[in-house]
């Protein structure tokens, strides 16, 4: 029963994220848009690269989808409504996201083409930068909850949400999460303007559908994690827990997707410099501050 509810929630969430993405790009809200796009991709011709590395080429979209699904397994929608309540759930989130890198490198190498390869390299070059900015805020969050379990992290926010308790961590986690899901303006691996699609360019038909689906699930996963770690998960008055979860997740996803077309794509050099020189010191400061607050303030 739990599994069924979670699957329905996943399907609904992915559909809404796809809706939001199209709305942010074109300004129009077409309710049947994602379904029609999926049907169109299913029916369109699959044009293959001339000499791909078959193993990498075929498995990259699947690995992206699997990595994103794995990272969703530790997200609680309500008390008890969670795929697996791992004691190290928060860390597992970061570990699952590491496979996104594997998938994008394979998608870059597989088609044996310049655009895809450069897209893969860009993501590789930056991964440490924002993986650090994912795991360090999670550390601070776990410090307050005194546990890595996502359920405990949510219940620890009953007095005050983490977004107020540790705002620096929230900003860093949100930005790093957007970069991990290569949402514009962090869409360096799939730069539509300067790489003609990058890692996504050589995938057509069904494979592109799987790739896009994986990316939607990834965006949903990052938004869910931001909700669970900083916005109190299912906590809220009047409505049942799962309703609050869904509302918050979709609001976060919408905010992540909206900013995209309004900002120019970040230069690789700029992003690396910001992450390493500004982001990581701020994350360390955040951990220190949270440590002091945890010891001093009884919240």
């Amino acid at each position: 029963m739990t599994t069924l509810i979670l699957l329905i929630a996943l399907g609904f969430g992915v559909y809404v994220v796809a809706l939001l993405e199209e709305w942010s790009v074109s300004g129009k809200l077409r309710l049947a848009g994602p379904a029609l796009a999926a049907l169109r991709l299913l029916g369109s011709e699959s044009v293959l690269a001339r000499k791909p590395d078959r193993l990498f080429f075929e498995s990259a979209p699947v690995i992206l989808l699997i990595a994103a699904l794995l990272s969703l397994t530790i997200i609680p929608l309500a008390p008890g409504l969670i795929a697996t309540d791992l004691a190290t759930g928060a860390l597992f989130f970061n570990a699952a996201l590491a496979y996104v890198l594997v998938a994008l490198i394979m998608a870059g190498w597989g088609p044996d083409g310049a655009y895809a390869m450069i897209g893969g390299w860009r993501f590789l070059g930056q991964l440490i930068a924002y993986a650090m900015l994912v795991v360090m805020p999670i550390t601070a969050v776990a410090m307050r909850a005194e546990s890595l379990s996502t359920v405990q992290i949510v219940t620890s926010q009953q007095g005050l949400w983490n977004i107020v308790y540790q705002p620096i961590g929230f900003v860093l986690f949100a930005i790093a999460g957007m970069a991990m899901a290569f949402v514009p303006p962090f869409d360096l691996p799939t730069g539509a303007g300067d790489l003609a699609g990058g890692v996504e360019a050589e995938y057509t038909g069904v494979r592109r559908l799987v790739f896009r689906l994986g990316r939607m699930v990834l965006i949903l996963s990052v938004a869910s994690a931001a909700t669970v770690f900083y916005l109190g998960g299912w906590l809220g008055p009047w409505l049942p827990g799962w309703a609050w979860s869904m509302i918050k997740i979709l609001i976060v996803a919408a905010l992540m997707l909206i900013g995209g077309p309004m900002l120019p794509r970040l230069r690789e050099v700029t992003f690396l410099a910001w992450c390493w020189k500004l982001g990581i010191p701020l994350a360390l400061v955040n951990i220190f501050l949270v440590g002091v607050l945890v010891l001093v303030v009884p919240l």
Binding site: V25, S26, G27, A114, Y115, M117, I118, W121, R122, P184, P185, D187, G191, A192, G193, D194, L195, A196, G260, P261, M262, L263, P264, R265, L266, R267, E268, V269, T270
Partner: protein
């Protein structure tokens, strides 16, 4: 002397040379090879020989046991064919005399000179071969005796020559039916397209780069078939012998990148040549742009135009009207500007002056085209940078404004101003463009520019151009595409040449024409893009790929203006 009893021999006496036993004669004489006297030899009815059924090279004159396996030796016919000796490791080494193999030094062993046994095959299905007469299992016909082919029939795939099989069937790589191929006289060799020094007898992968080995052509002169090595040469020496503890064939990155061009920042990466044109989002269509990329840094740029204009007068002199029409057709991205240019040049040559009203209307059209051209450029830049909304709005405005009349154009002024404001206030856009596409102050740049001389400066200059153009249109009061003032007979009689210049959206263009009896006999056109194209190299050298593309886009090249 008394006759003594001798053994009656079956065969007559034969004479042979002690040095050359293959020389045999019925009569005594001299050896034709060395001149020695022939001596009587044993009759060729060879004595009984005993050999091992398992080891035919073991031959003995007497019955016994095989020294190798212990089996009883059996009597064999001395083979009619002369004894041959061959090397067990190298069966191609064959000799009439026992000795050592020249390749490996092992003693040669006696082999049967094989006479090909009779083979039977089906006339309809030549692949069906049998040692015994019988019926074809496929069609039931009687098998007929065939010459045993020296080499068995081989079947190969027409698409994958390295797939070779003794049996007909399907290619494991692509599924096509295998066709019979001529057995190759020379052993097939496989080599790597990237590393010709790697040669192998069997298909496989190149140990250096992992590519599939392909069949070496007989006269392969190592042509670079359709791929670009990015400048590196193949004068690599053989791989260093393996270091202790490291697998053989291992090459360090230093060896692997030997001979490739050096990266300027010291981090040696793979060199690729990638095309970014003629249809690339964000770049002008028709521009052939190839980058040699050192990793993701541009090492060298090659730029050309796919749509270079033809000589206007290649078919002979044109009348004034035809000349104007043909130059308009040749410049689809800035038709009004070049039409105006042609009209002005011809009118100057014919000493005609249009009225002020016409001049105002022409200027209105020119400024309208300037706004339209900058809007299109802005839309392309937006697409390149990921500013989707701005790109869409600029494109929509461009469509509405391009062919509109004076009143609708002036009605669009607020929208144009609002778009300009939005672009100027886009967060991080100026920072994104600062320093990209920087040109030295003395560079031959004739387009919109400000004191920064980089892409951000050119963006600001074009936005300023648009607002100024809108003011000029409002002052002009009318918009009319330039039409050539009719050249009267008096003017037609004059032969004159003149030069006119117009400020196109991309810079100043000049046209020199020579009129003869009202016909244009020579014309020479100087366009801004033809001068700007040489700036692509300096602007992209050693820049990261995204920065290089933005820099090229900021130059606003018009491929139709670039002469071949």
């Amino acid at each position: 002397m008394d006759l003594v009893e001798t053994e009656a021999t079956d065969a007559p006496a034969q004479y042979t040379c002690p040095m050359h036993p293959e020389v045999v004669s019925d009569e005594p004489g001299s050896c034709p090879k060395c001149g020695m006297d022939l001596v009587e030899s044993e009759p060729t009815a060879a004595p009984a020989q005993y050999s091992c059924p398992m080891h035919p090279e073991v031959v003995s004159d007497e019955p016994g046991s095989c020294p190798k396996c212990g089996m009883d030796l059996v009597e064999t016919e001395a083979s009619a064919a002369p004894a041959q000796y061959s090397c067990p490791m190298h069966p191609e080494v064959v000799s009439d005399q026992p000795g050592s193999c020249p390749k490996c030094g092992i003693d040669l062993v006696q082999t049967e000179a094989t006479a090909a046994p009779a083979q039977y095959s089906c006339p309809m299905h030549p692949e069906v071969v049998s040692d015994q007469p019988g019926s074809c299992p496929k069609c039931g016909m009687d098998l007929v005796e065939t010459e045993a082919t020296a080499a068995p029939a081989q079947y190969t795939c027409p698409m994958h020559r390295e797939v070779v099989s003794d049996q007909p069937g399907s290619c494991p790589k692509c599924g096509m039916d295998l066709v019979e191929s001529e057995p190759t006289a020379a052993p097939v060799q496989y080599t790597c397209p990237m590393h010709p020094e790697v040669v192998s007898d069997e298909p496989g992968s190149c140990p250096k780069c992992g590519m599939d080995l392909v069949q070496a052509e007989a006269n392969d002169d190592h042509a670079h078939h359709g791929h670009d090595h990015g400048g590196h040469d193949h004068a690599l020496g053989p791989a260093q012998p393996g270091v202790d503890g490291v697998e053989p064939g291992f090459m360090s990155m230093v060896e692997l990148t030997q001979g490739t061009p050096r990266s300027s920042d010291g981090l040696q990466m793979e060199w690729i040549t990638a095309s970014f044109g003629p249809f690339f989002p964000g770049l002008p269509g028709g521009l052939l742009l190839d980058f040699e990329l050192d990793g993701d840094t541009v090492a060298q740029a090659h730029v050309a135009s796919l749509v270079a204009p033809a000589d206007l007068l290649e078919n002979g002199p044109l009348s004034g009207v035809d000349f104007v029409e043909s130059i308009t057709r040749q410049m689809p991205l800035a038709p009004v500007s070049y039409r105006l240019l042609a009209c002005l040049a011809l009118e100057a040559a014919a000493n005609l002056r249009p009225s002020d009203a016409i001049a105002q209307a022409r200027n209105g059209a020119l400024e309208r085209e300037r706004i339209a051209s900058h809007l299109r450029w802005l839309s392309q830049l937006g697409r390149q940078l990921g500013l989707g909304r701005i790109a869409a709005d600029a494109s929509a405005l461009h469509q509405q404004l391009r062919d509109a009349d004076w009143r609708p154009v002036t009605a669009l002024a607020p929208r144009l101003a609002a778009l300009g404001e939005r672009v100027a206030r886009t967060p991080f856009l100026t920072r994104r463009l600062t320093g990209i596409g920087r040109l030295p102050a003395d560079a031959p740049w004739h387009g919109p520019d400000d004191e920064r001389h980089d892409a951000a400066g050119r963006l600001a200059a074009r936005l300023a151009d648009m607002s100024r153009s809108m003011e000029l249109i409002q002052q002009a009061g009318a918009i009319a595409p330039p039409e050539l003032t009719p050249i009267g007979e008096a003017a037609a009689a004059a032969t004159k040449s003149a030069t006119a210049s117009v400020q196109t959206p991309r810079g100043a263009a000049e046209l020199s024409v020579e009129l003869d009896a009202g016909m244009v006999v020579s014309a020479s056109l100087q366009t801004p893009s033809a001068r700007h194209i040489d700036l692509v190299g300096p602007v992209t050298a050693q820049r990261e790929l995204a920065d290089a593309l933005v820099a090229v886009a900021s130059l606003d090249l018009n491929p139709w203006e670039i002469t071949a």
